[in-house]
């Protein structure tokens, strides 16, 4: 008896669902054009004495290790801006959300910040997957994201400002440095995901153009902990240097193995692009001292601006804390946004986008300038060496800010890489 009843109810529900689907009169893709054409009107409230901004970082989960540091420096920047009168005379009211190390949560929370909290701009994201997940949200709502981490390039959205390095501000300077040091052959080690794979593609094209020999290329799954085989291959290949794009905890296992097999920076240096001040402690200074790294900022940069930044940060969070490149890029991003808004005289997204080109800021890393075309920023590349104090000391500098070129259009040898 119950079965027939429930069957009837089911049928009714199914019919209702089907009817709703058929009677829908939503826009077709071609009618709506590319994503974002039908963006709903912005709900940002600019009438009061406060303006809302959103911070979206992973405060829980595996990425919390890295992203909490970015959150801290963003908070410091907001505090400093409020202490000096805010933006266009309005205090910043921060709405902080947890991305929980999951791209889908990032997309959902970005949607919440834009539509429910009505923030003027969002700052955050770390992994490329979180950025890729948020990108359509910012485009379809026509809102702004400031992304503070170096990444693999090949992207430029009018709704994202990239304040970390793209490949031609980190990977290519690292190769220039190695070439200057007389390195004639390389071994590539990376985690098995998109950043190392793209970086290695660029490295191989560069190597082919400059006559550097690639002795081997190895990838480890994310979170891999046993590097015996990979390091044995590295040792047997006998390259002039190792280019390391490993991610996270894998670096620890790799460098411990490297040292235990008796390999040293003197015989075969390992240049890394994902190890900053924050990670050195976990790897163990002993295991990595003397190895080169490539970034755009180190805590040891000797300028008054950086000294102020480091002092303010340690005063707020404790003397034991270090500052690193992504933290500095996040800190800078808030001031760049302030510059753009003040130049535009408005919090309106279109006005900020129009005003962005040429906005510059005297950042802890040096003067940076926003590129109005691709929304990246011009920054100086620095190669550093890890010292016995656990900090990174500048060895080599590109001398002047490098214009961002996320698609490597100005490098003839890279023409085959991005179509």
């Amino acid at each position: 008896m119950t079965t027939t009843r429930s069957r009837r109810a089911i049928r009714a529900a199914a019919l209702l669902a089907a009817g709703l689907v058929l009677s829908a009169c939503g826009a077709r893709v071609d009618a709506a054009g590319p994503a974002g054409a039908a963006a709903p009107a912005s709900c940002v409230d600019t009438s009061g004495s406060e303006i809302k901004i959103g911070f979206l970082n992973s405060r829980s989960g595996t990425m919390a290790i890295s992203e909490n540091t970015v959150f801290d420096s963003l908070s410091l920047a907001a505090e400093q801006i409020n202490a000096t009168g805010g933006v266009l005379g309005k205090r910043l009211a921060v709405v902080a959300e947890d991305g929980a190390s999951e791209p889908t949560i990032f997309a959902e929370k970005a949607q919440k910040l834009i539509r429910s909290d009505c923030v003027a701009a969002v700052f955050g994201g770390w992994t490329s997957s979180s950025r890729k997940a948020m990108l359509p949200v910012f485009e379809s709502n026509d809102s702004l994201l400031f992304y503070p981490v170096q990444y693999e390039g090949l992207e430029s959205s009018k709704n994202i400002f990239y304040t970390g390095a793209t490949t031609n501000q980190q990977i290519i300077p690292a190769l220039d440095y190695l070439k200057e040091q007389g390195v004639r052959s390389l071994f590539l080690v990376g985690s098995d995901y998109v950043f190392p794979q793209t970086a290695n593609k660029i490295i191989k094209a560069y190597a082919a153009a400059t006559g550097i020999e690639i002795k081997g290329e190895e990838y480890a799954p994310l979170g891999h902990t046993d590097f015996a085989t990979i390091v044995a291959k590295v040792r047997d290949a006998g390259a002039g240097a190792v280019f390391n794009t490993l991610n996270g905890d894998s670096n620890v296992a790799f460098f411990k193995e490297y040292k235990n097999l008796g390999l040293t920076p003197a015989t075969m240096p390992v240049i890394s692009v994902s190890i900053a001040e924050e990670e050195v402690g976990g790897i163990g200074v002993d295991n990595i001292v003397g190895q080169p790294v490539a970034w755009n900022y180190y805590q040891t940069i000797d300028t008054p601006t950086n000294q102020q930044f480091v002092d303010a940060f340690t005063a707020k969070y404790g003397a034991g804390r270090v500052t690193s490149d992504p933290m500095e890029a996040a800190y800078t991003s808030l001031f760049l946004w302030k510059g753009m808004v003040e130049k535009a005289g408005s919090f309106d997204v279109a006005a900020v986008q129009a005003a962005a080109g040429g906005v510059s800021y005297d950042a802890p890393e040096g003067t940076v300038t926003v590129n109005g075309e691709n929304h990246h920023i011009a920054k100086t590349a620095l190669i550093g060496k890890i010292g016995a104090d656990g900090l990174i000391h500048t060895e080599w500098s590109s001398g002047k800010p490098i214009e961002p070129d996320p698609y490597l259009k100005t490098y003839p040898w890279a023409s085959g890489l991005a179509s």
Binding site: R5, G26, A35, A39, E108, S129, D192
Partner: protein, 357 residues
């Protein structure tokens, strides 16, 4: 309430809530969020059948969820690229064009058929292979977990085919309809709600049928079922296949609603995460798993907005306390209160010991 009206009435209430109350009461953003929870509820319906009724602890549902999701995502990517076009992410990282195994999914029909059939077919092969060899209990659980791990590694390691760790995202349309249009998003929500109710009805039919009784019998005394002349391997495989089917459908709906699928949604951790709602709601009941999944997803979003690290503790404690002290879930608690005299059968500790000693 009269018992024979209880289930149809529950269906009616659910339909009114989902099709009338939710769209009126919730903002578009909250409705999208609820749509995502409904996807997990759909997975939970299948898990309730396989785990609650069949005693198979499926720790690899992320694999089937991921298959459905990636199949749908591949189609949406190809549709966005236009006839003969190459999806944007692929053009960026490789110049080889579209891999051959993507080509069939340009067709809407092939994609829909694949979503309905492929996870089920894989589950059928895996299920028959393992259950016929009488791999069960903990062995089955650990194998399905290893499967989830291997699947995530494969996805991450093949960026040209699957988008690697960033997954597939940035879809513009859904079978020709623009995803940015709120009217279309409402239809997507209704589709998810309709699918959930349909699959609940299917699960109900299976539970009250002769097959449903056999399944419970296999869970409680597999050898006796064998002695009675049935093949438990077939009985269990059917439940496993239905669970994989629901997970695949849920994955396919998840993609247009959330706008991204990545290996983060398919590995070991999300696979186990899919179980907690089922356990809390009451694994042996019809509505319990779905309601539990919605409640846990909702609690996750809400709690992590307020206390990021608190949610991890809360999740851990929920697993510990509910499973250790309330194996029947909240449904058992409600049942016990309604009839204090006789403990309900569903409140009994569930799987019979089947260790290898």
């Amino acid at each position: 309430m009269n018992k024979r009206w209880a289930v149809p009435a529950a269906f009616a209430v659910a339909a009114v809530l989902l099709f009338a109350v939710a769209p009126l009461a919730l903002s578009p953003f909250r409705l999208d969020q609820l749509g995502r929870y409904l996807c997990f509820a759909i997975v939970a319906v299948g898990i309730g059948l396989a785990w609650g009724r069949g005693g198979m602890l499926t720790l690899g549902q992320g694999v089937f969820f991921g298959m459905g999701a990636y199949l749908m995502a591949m189609h949406l990517k190809l549709a966005d690229a236009g006839p003969g076009g190459t999806p944007d992410f692929m053009a960026l990282i490789s110049s080889d064009g579209v891999p051959w195994w993507w080509e069939p999914f340009r067709s809407e029909v092939v994609t829909l058929l694949a979503i309905l059939l492929l996870p089920a077919a894989v589950a059928a092969v895996l299920g028959l292979a393992t259950f016929r060899r009488r791999v069960r209990g903990a062995y089955f659980a650990i194998l399905s977990q290893a499967l989830a791990a291997a699947f995530a590694i494969l996805l991450i390691g093949n960026p040209t085919g699957t988008g690697g760790s960033t997954g597939l995202s940035g879809f513009r349309g859904f079978f020709g309809f623009a995803l940015s249009d709120p009217a279309n998003r409402l239809v997507l929500f209704f589709t998810a709600a309709g699918v959930l109710l349909l699959l609940l009805a299917l699960a109900r039919q299976l539970m009250v049928s002769r097959y449903g009784e056999l399944l419970v019998a296999c869970r409680d005394a597999e050898e006796r079922v064998r002695f009675l002349g049935y093949d438990p391997a077939n009985v269990k495989t059917v439940a496993f296949v239905v669970a994989a089917f629901t997970a695949g459908v849920a994955g396919a709906l998840f993609v247009p609603i959330v706008g991204i699928v990545s290996p983060n949604d398919v590995g070991i951790v999300p696979s186990i995460g899919m179980l907690i709602g089922v356990a809390i709601g009451g694994r042996t009941t019809l509505f319990g798993p779905a309601l539990g999944a919605i409640a846990v997803a909702w609690a996750g979003s809400t709690l992590s907005e307020q206390f990021p690290s608190g949610w991890t503790y809360a999740q851990g404690l929920l697993f510990m306390l509910v499973i250790a002290f309330l194996p029947g879930g909240l449904a058992a608690l409600a049942w016990r209160r309604a009839r204090p005299a006789a403990p309900a059968p569903s409140a009994q500790p569930v799987p019979a010991p089947s260790g290898g000693n």
